[in-house]
Symmetry: C2
Subunit: 478 residues, 2 copies
């Protein structure tokens, strides 16, 4: 099956985004009614509504009951979206570890304005309730549980994760799941199960630098895929690549990718699955940001759209939404269950028992849902404020992403901009962020940067973003 | 430097062990005085005393104040020591994962008599105090610590481990240490740092099956070294091998190796270090059993005997002596610090925060020392009882190890004995143990087995060992 041409609702959605980008529709403005737009473009009402709903889920539009759809004035104002990436079409050996280690060190430096680290801060997570559960299981059941956890993980936690998996649209059984040390171990186990040193792995471009670091350590090459801020991975471009390059596996975000924040449409995801199935290429998907959606619906991961034709390894964790300090993630390895289990035994044997039991207990009731509703609202608000601060201070040519979930912003400045120089300068001013070139194996995106809006918004953060904007202006004016 | 000939005190010690083995000296019997033996063998008093002290540390002799040295009647009676291993002198590809996974599954089956699993049971560890500390840090400081731990690990824990390292004879600084997910992750990080797929790693034979499993997953070959129950790795044999085989690294136990339980003498360790230094081969040492010594002195690890000429990676954990459920180990990677850190970032990013802080607090006071004194006594007593039960029920030809630390026994039966068949039969009788051939990459030791004495001794365990002995007798008589 070929990668499909855009559906009509997607064409309509693109048109509306284009109008917003060009200023023909501005924030707060009412967009044409569903009926009007369906007549104008000779679409069915259902198709037009599908386009509007999708834009609503992405945070581009907001609907007001009895009134219609409006351009969201929340997250985006005057700045355009960054352009679709055009990485080289050859696999690259990865050599990024030094940069990653240095970045992580700065990102954990509490004295800097924290725009670098991709975890919500402790004030925002408010994990008190979870910690009390840990205290209780330790006090009451600690002695009984001072044993190696089964390598697969505690049954109680696997049950709760399985129970929640229904919300993602793909019901897992507890036995499908293996508990890991965060999503990091999940991805490393997955890559080790599907690839051997020297193999090539296709990844989004730009992509999470931790993934590139892991590829480097495992001796794998990265093939960077052209990726659009709205539609995600360019399926047609991937189809052309697969005819030329042997690829051992593809690693993609299930939604709200880090750093771009896009969500692929379900139809694009299906096209991509069909393409991978045709070439018999396994897909590793990373769903760590899926629970932080601002729209009504959680994006469906690839695994929920698979018709049994793909080999998919699903990876996720609680690090972005609940408990980075607990280091609890999981993997549903599907056809690779045995190889993943063998690697888990060799890498860490099993995960600590009590943190698993505490999270299982936390998930049992409604606490995680309540928690998610709160942090989604706060993180969306944080992004809005950060975009405003960016628009008020960064150069007018700056382009900025408009994620409908997660808490990262991707900024693109003019081609000759040097975000590494900005990084060094920002550190001197006590500000940390992630420079663009750590998100690419071929060290592209030197004119881009990622800002994290995971910290409780305050004057300190606001002032940091604005100062960063002024530093960027100063560099451009030099 | 060549592997040295045995020192005179070692010759004397071997002579006394031989006399005990042959029954010339029996349990409870007073051995000739230091003065008498020094005159008889024309040795200095100091040399004779050194031999006696070494035998005391190994649990062969006991000293009684004002009275002299006696043959210990604790752990060994009538059965001889298993013979020195004579593995093949070629590297083997490892293919053991299936067997290991199956064994681990049985070993965690609570309904079986637990002679299979190499961790002390929860009743013996009595980790209540540690769990209360975990509860307290979770309650009081949980929210503040819901962040990624530094990849190196919590400073408080690294400080405590460094402080305790003085007892091993080699003072580490907190910055020398990286916290891992048990010793398993430490060994995996170490192997990844020194070797590439296809390389050969020299290991004791028999050795811990988990290590063999890790070699397999990392695509490394195993070269098994001849190993003696008393003296450990045969340094002269290793010297001959190194002239023929290229070896990427050597992995050895610091003391009370699993499964044999031997401790190499300091002079043998020094010879081995000199040999590895001459060939520029890094040493990875595993010291997880070192704290469980029955003699007065903790055996010095290799790293404490190095004169700065060797590249040594030191690995240990709290899994055997305090908290298997917490999954906290550590690695002192020395010259490989950067490569180990890079791999830690890729494999698990960092370890959970709160379990680290709880163990740090536990180590701060005297609690760990008090705890160790208690479990050393209990585990020594367990071994004594287990040896008695073996001698009362196993075939008379059975040979059994006499470890002076740890809690494992290694049994050797006549050549044609099939411990895998015994394993299957024992499972039907509700008894689990570890069959010998999982301790060898070339699947030797089919006539051997390992029994763990880590569980609180009771009639159930006693009856299990005796039934196992009767099953072994029945097999030999068939």
């Amino acid at each position: 099956m070929e990668a499909h041409a855009p559906y009509r609702y997607e064409q309509l959605a693109d048109l509306i985004i284009g109008m917003i980008d060009k200023g023909a529709l501005s924030p707060g403005m009412r967009v044409p009614s569903v009926r009007a737009v369906s007549e104008q473009h000779q679409l069915s009402i259902a198709t037009a509504l599908q386009a509007y709903r999708m834009l609503e889920d992405r945070g581009v539009l907001v609907s007001r009951p009895q009134s219609g759809f409006y351009v969201s004035n929340a997250r985006h104002g005057t700045f355009a979206l960054p352009s679709t990436s055009r990485p080289r079409t050859k696999a690259s050996t990865v050599s990024i570890s030094g940069a990653v280690a240095a970045l992580l060190e700065h990102a954990s430096n509490m004295s800097l304005v924290p725009l670098g680290c991709a975890v919500p801060d402790v004030g925002l997570l408010q994990s008190k309730r979870l910690d009390l559960m840990l205290a209780r299981v330790a006090r009451q059941h600690g002695a009984r549980h001072n044993v190696y956890s089964p390598p697969r993980g505690e049954a109680a936690l696997r049950r709760e994760i399985a129970r929640r998996s229904i919300r993602t649209g793909h019901a897992l059984s507890p036995d499908d799941i293996l508990i890991t040390s965060g999503c990091t171990e999940a991805l490393t186990l997955a890559l080790g199960a599907v690839a051997r040193p020297g193999d090539t792995i296709a990844v989004e471009s730009p992509t999470y630098f931790g993934l590139l670091h892991t590829l480097e350590v495992l001796g794998l090459k990265a093939l960077e895929l052209a990726t659009d801020l709205v539609r995600g991975v360019d399926v047609a471009a991937l189809a052309r690549l697969l005819d030329k390059e042997p690829i051992a596996a593809c690693v993609l975000s299930s939604g709200f990718s880090n750093p771009l924040g896009y969500v692929m449409t379900e139809s694009d995801k299906r096209s991509l699955l069909a393409l991978l199935s045709k070439h018999a290429i396994p897909l590793i998907e990373d769903d760590v940001y899926g629970d932080i959606h601002f729209g009504r619906e959680r994006p469906k991961p690839f695994i929920a759209l698979d018709r049994g034709e793909n080999k998919i390894i699903y990876c996720s964790s609680f690090s972005k939404s609940l408990a980075p300090g607990y280091r609890i993630g999981w993997i549903a390895p599907g056809a690779y269950a045995q190889r993943v289990m063998e690697r888990k035994l060799a890498f860490s044997l099993s995960s600590p028992v009590l943190p698993q039991l505490a999270i299982a207990e936390f998930l049992e009731g409604n606490a995680y849902e309540v928690h998610l509703r709160r942090i989604r609202r706060v993180l969306e608000e944080n992004l809005t404020r950060m975009v405003r601060a960016i628009e008020a201070s960064f150069p007018a040519e700056t382009k900025v992403s408009r994620p409908a979930g997660g808490f990262m912003l991707w900024l693109e400045l003019p081609k000759h901009f040097d975000s590494r120089a900005l990084f060094d300068e920002a550190l001197e001013h006590g500000i940390c962020f992630a420079p663009g070139n750590v998100f690419s194996a071929s060290r592209r995106y030197g004119n881009c940067l990622r800002l994290s809006a995971g910290h409780t918004w305050d004057d300190h953060i606001e002032a940091g973003v604005r100062r960063l904007g002024r530093l960027a202006c100063a560099q451009l004016n030099r």
